[in-house]
């Protein structure tokens, strides 16, 4: 039987209270939201906080709001809510693509977007999604609120820009006209971590050429996006040869390790093929999209 080591527990009433509790209980306190990463780690003693600060009551962080040229998503938004949101599906189909393959429906009822990003597992899907959508994270702490782009959010496996006495509150996705996005993952079985996954977001110019492209890879040792592969698309008309070239560059740029999910060659092959597929789908979606 797996039971976490003993800890003390306190329920936060709002964001200010959560920050005060983190400050009061110090470095050995951890925030818990859905708990579907933290509790398994606590059972295995990979994490052993003295205090858990439960933020599930912070309904102010549970929202999906379209506001001007951005979609604002509260950190406590559950995976299920993201999967079922019409705004998300319309604006950022990549989020829907990814949410469909994150864990399973029951886990998605509990897990949150903020928890996924803060866990920062190298095989975590939403980090790649937020990278390619060039999302901004909104972090609050004792000194107030700051905005950190995804490019600076991840600081390595399981490490983020969120300090121990801070709380990730919101993720903001810029809405762009004529844009499209897609995500595809290869997993050994339903709900497993990715063997490899790829995500792409593309914005087209009025003449149909690529104005901006972002490519992200999951579980192959890359932080952030793949600028070398993105560059070949810039200013060009979307075309199968272009997707293939970007796929080859991405496969060369990544740094997978052999493990029980497969050897390096196999993972590079997946990167090449998945990059091509998500670019193809993202461009098709962008071509079909209106002015956003």
């Amino acid at each position: 039987m797996q039971i976490p080591a003993a800890f003390d527990y306190e329920r936060a009433s709002d964001v200010a209270n959560a920050l005060a509790l983190l400050e009061r209980h110090g470095p050995e306190s951890r925030v818990i939201a859905g708990g579907h990463s933290l509790l398994p780690m606590m059972k295995l003693r990979l994490a052993r906080p003295d205090w858990l600060i439960d933020i599930n009551g912070l309904t102010e962080l549970d929202f999906i709001l379209r506001e001007g040229d951005q979609l604002r998503v509260g950190a406590l938004t559950r995976h299920t809510a993201l999967l079922e949101s019409a705004d998300v599906a319309g604006l950022f189909p990549i989020i829907r693509d990814a949410e469909r393959v994150i864990a399973d429906p029951v886990v998605r009822n509990r897990g949150t977007i903020g928890g996924s990003l803060c866990q920062a597992d190298p095989a975590e899907d939403l980090s790649t999604v937020c990278d390619v959508l060039r999302a901004l994270t909104v972090i609050r702490g004792p000194a107030g609120q700051r905005t950190v782009p995804m490019a600076d959010f991840h600081q390595g496996p399981y490490e983020t820009a969120v300090a121990q006495n801070e709380l990730l509150c919101e993720i903001r996705f810029p809405i762009r006209p004529r844009s499209g996005s897609a995500y595809e993952k290869v997993e050994r079985r339903v709900g497993d971590w990715a063997v490899v996954a790829a995500g792409a977001a593309v914005a087209l110019s009025a003449d149909g050429t690529v104005d901006d492209a972002a490519i992200g890879l999951t579980a192959v040792g890359l932080d952030g996006t793949v600028p070398e592969a993105e560059a070949v698309l810039q200013g060009r008309q979307p075309h199968e040869d272009l997707f293939a070239e970007a796929g080859r560059i991405a496969a060369a740029a990544c740094d997978p390790v052999a493990d029980r999910r497969g050897p390096v060659d196999y993972k590079r092959h997946l990167v090449e093929e998945l990059t091509r597929r998500v670019l193809r789908r993202a461009c098709a979606r962008a071509a079909g999209a209106g002015q956003g």
């Binding site: 039971i3 003993a6 398994p40 029951v106 886990v107 509990r110 709900g191």
Partner: protein, 174 residues
């Protein structure tokens, strides 16, 4: 720590350690052993209970996190001695062999039908995709849920009413 919640409609209140998982609280503190404890790693789904109507894996929820919430376990599926259509469906269509996964399967099925009274087979398979059955190959589970969808209780309100529950029981066994 003192916690209070509703379990199958009853108010319960206990003093527990924060590290107690909801599955153990339900089984060992409340004695409701219909909820099974399986893999302990959020994979198998036999520990699924409904929390405010939504399926959750109770091996990965702290009991203190359920404080103030509404919990429904397999013991709460039958109402007034009448089996839930999902339970009846598992009987009619042989939705179980060993029965270990069944409590979680039935609760997920109940939550699915509450939201989507007429799911297709793919939707049922998607709903139970986080739960493992090693006996049936899932085909009979899907058929059981379809049986339940085809034999709904008249209405929740009617089910609470004695006379209506009786006529519903006839429908279910017909």
């Amino acid at each position: 720590m003192q916690i209070s919640m509703k379990v199958n409609g009853d108010d319960v209140s206990r003093d527990i350690e924060p590290r107690v998982l909801l599955v153990h609280f339900i089984r060992e503190v409340l004695g409701l052993t219909g909820t099974h404890w399986g893999c302990d790693t959020t994979n198998c789904g036999t520990c699924v209970v409904l929390m405010d109507g939504q399926p959750v894996k109770s091996c990965t929820v702290l009991a203190v996190m359920a404080d103030g919430h509404d919990i429904r376990t397999v013991e709460g599926l039958a109402v007034g001695g009448t089996l839930d259509p999902v339970q009846q469906g598992f009987m009619e269509e042989h939705g179980l062999q060993c029965g270990f996964c069944t409590p979680g399967m039935m609760l997920t099925a109940r939550a699915l039908l509450d939201r989507n009274p007429h799911p297709d087979d793919a939707e049922i398979r998607e709903a139970i995709s986080g739960q493992i059955c090693r006996c049936t190959g899932y085909a009979t589970i899907v058929r059981s849920v379809q049986w339940a969808a085809a034999h709904p209780l008249a209405t929740d309100a009617a089910a609470d009413d004695g006379a209506a529950a009786e006529s519903t029981a006839e429908e279910v066994t017909a």
